[in-house]
């Protein structure tokens, strides 16, 4: 029952070979086995959204997938956003609008927003607030995160 499963995970277009127990969450494996600690683990049962990553184009809670379920999927994490020293436009918009303070929730928000905008490129304000309600931020409040999304939407438009 405790036997380990050999997996190949495609994270940010790089292969990671890991040996994991089935019960290890994707969030834990990304952090502890792959060493990508930008993905945060908060509540560990799907409420806070800090572990949000993108799997096959969809934003998902990495704490609500077991790692073996992600084999064969294309995974994107916060480490795959910036190109060298060039921040991703969403990261820059967060910086421009003071949309982060302690930064714990920030990777989850950025991955959520990135995947959501792919499917909703011209959102109304109410749709943005509905989307942002998925994740918890406990320092800045949501106003500046909302402003950051508005800036990106304007840049895309």
């Amino acid at each position: 029952m405790d036997s380990k499963i050999a997996l190949r995970l495609d994270i940010n277009s790089r292969d990671y070979h890991v040996n994991v127990e089935a019960r290890q969450t994707l969030a834990d494996v990304i952090r502890e086995e792959c060493g990508l600690t930008g993905t945060r683990v908060g509540c560990e049962h799907g409420v806070c959204g800090s572990c949000t990553i993108v799997v096959d184009g969809a934003p998902v809670r990495a704490c609500l997938m077991f790692a073996p379920q992600a084999e064969g999927k294309k995974i994107r994490t916060i480490e795959g956003m910036a190109e060298g020293d060039d921040l991703h436009p969403i990261q820059r918009a967060f910086s421009d609008n003071h949309a982060l303070q302690c930064g714990f929730c920030t990777p989850g928000f950025i991955m959520l927003i990135a995947a959501w905008l792919e499917q909703n490129p011209a959102p109304a304000d109410g749709e943005i607030t509905g989307m942002l309600s998925a994740n918890l931020c406990r320092c800045t409040g949501y106003r500046n995160i909302f402003r950051a999304v508005k800036q990106i939407v304007a840049e895309l438009g």
Binding site: M1, D2, I5, E21, A22, R23, Q24, T25, D28, E44, H45, G46, G49, T52, A58, P59, V60, R61, C63, L64, M65, F66, P68, Q69, L112, W116, G130, M131, S133, A134
Partner: protein, 290 residues
């Protein structure tokens, strides 16, 4: 890592999944589809299945389809599959409206319609929809299948008639008349929470009167259910403001509200009254009830 150890199975075909399930059912073997309720329960160790049968790779279980006058919602149809209307006519927009109220966007990418029915949370939007719309649950086991009306399938909070060696392979919803109208309203203190009450109503309008009224209330009681007395009081009459007021008060008087620390029974009864009124107003207000 918080879940207890389990053996993981990832079958590629439905028959293979049913075969594995028949072998591990006696050891609390479970199907996992979206996992958006099961995995939190495993993290909290409220559930400790010894085996998980992951059906996510079974292509034949994906998405939805219309067969004759039935919408077939297969086991892997995600909540997000309903963001855009899944079919033409009123049922597509109805399900899209309901889907917007389910949890949050990332949860809707994984969670499934059939999984919501299998889980049978009292606050499940899909359970209310399946019961109100006259849905049928297709429960499959190795070598057999049975059809169960959604209203009989859901027995109580987190309790259904599904046997340990059965899985829901699909839920069937009858496709309503093209002229049907609907309204849905859910009250929530915070977006995405478990709703204390919600209501779904559908009907058709003939010569200024409403007919074929279906009115369901969810979240407020141990199970979602249709309120036949309210339906009868509305049928074959014009849907006036006075009728809407009467119906919402009658609905509130008929229910046996759940009670918790935040929401005492009388408060929940008030929320039911408001939810039913607003669902009826939404249905009254527009052809495809926004």
């Amino acid at each position: 890592m918080k879940a207890a150890p389990f053996t993981y199975h990832r079958p590629g075909k439905l028959e293979e999944a049913l075969d594995i399930l028949s072998r591990v059912a006696g050891q609390d073997g479970r199907i996992i589809a979206g996992g958006q309720s099961l995995v939190p329960m495993m993290a909290l160790r409220l559930a400790q299945p010894a085996h998980l049968v992951d059906i996510n790779e079974i292509a034949s279980l994906r998405g939805t389809g219309v067969e004759r006058q039935t919408l077939v919602i297969r086991a892997l149809a995600r909540h997000a599959d309903f963001h855009q209307p899944a079919l033409t006519g009123p049922l597509g927009p109805l399900l899209a409206t309901v889907a917007q109220n389910i949890a949050h966007y990332p949860i809707r990418q994984r969670g499934t319609f059939c999984g919501s029915l299998a889980h049978a949370d009292p606050a499940s939007e899909w359970c209310l929809a399946a019961v109100t719309l006259g849905g049928t649950v297709i429960a499959r086991r190795r070598g057999g299948a049975r059809e169960i009306p959604a209203g009989e399938f859901i027995q109580g909070p987190l309790t259904t008639t599904l046997e340990p060696d059965e899985m829901i392979s699909a839920v069937h919803l009858p496709v309503p008349d093209q002229t049907g109208r609907f309204g849905f309203y859910e009250f929530n203190r915070r977006a995405g929470d478990f709703a204390p009450a919600m209501s779904l109503v559908t009907f058709t309008v003939q010569d200024e009167t409403v007919t074929q009224v279906r009115l369901g209330v969810g979240g407020a009681e141990e199970t979602p259910r249709r309120l036949s007395q309210v339906e009868e009081a509305l049928n074959n009459k014009p849907l006036t403001d006075a009728q809407i007021r009467m119906a919402s008060e009658l609905a509130a008087s008929l229910i046996t509200p759940l009670e918790d620390a935040l929401i005492p029974q009388d408060y929940r009864r008030q929320i039911v009254k408001t939810a039913v009124r607003r669902a009826l107003e939404a249905a009254q207000g527009s052809r495809h009830g926004q």
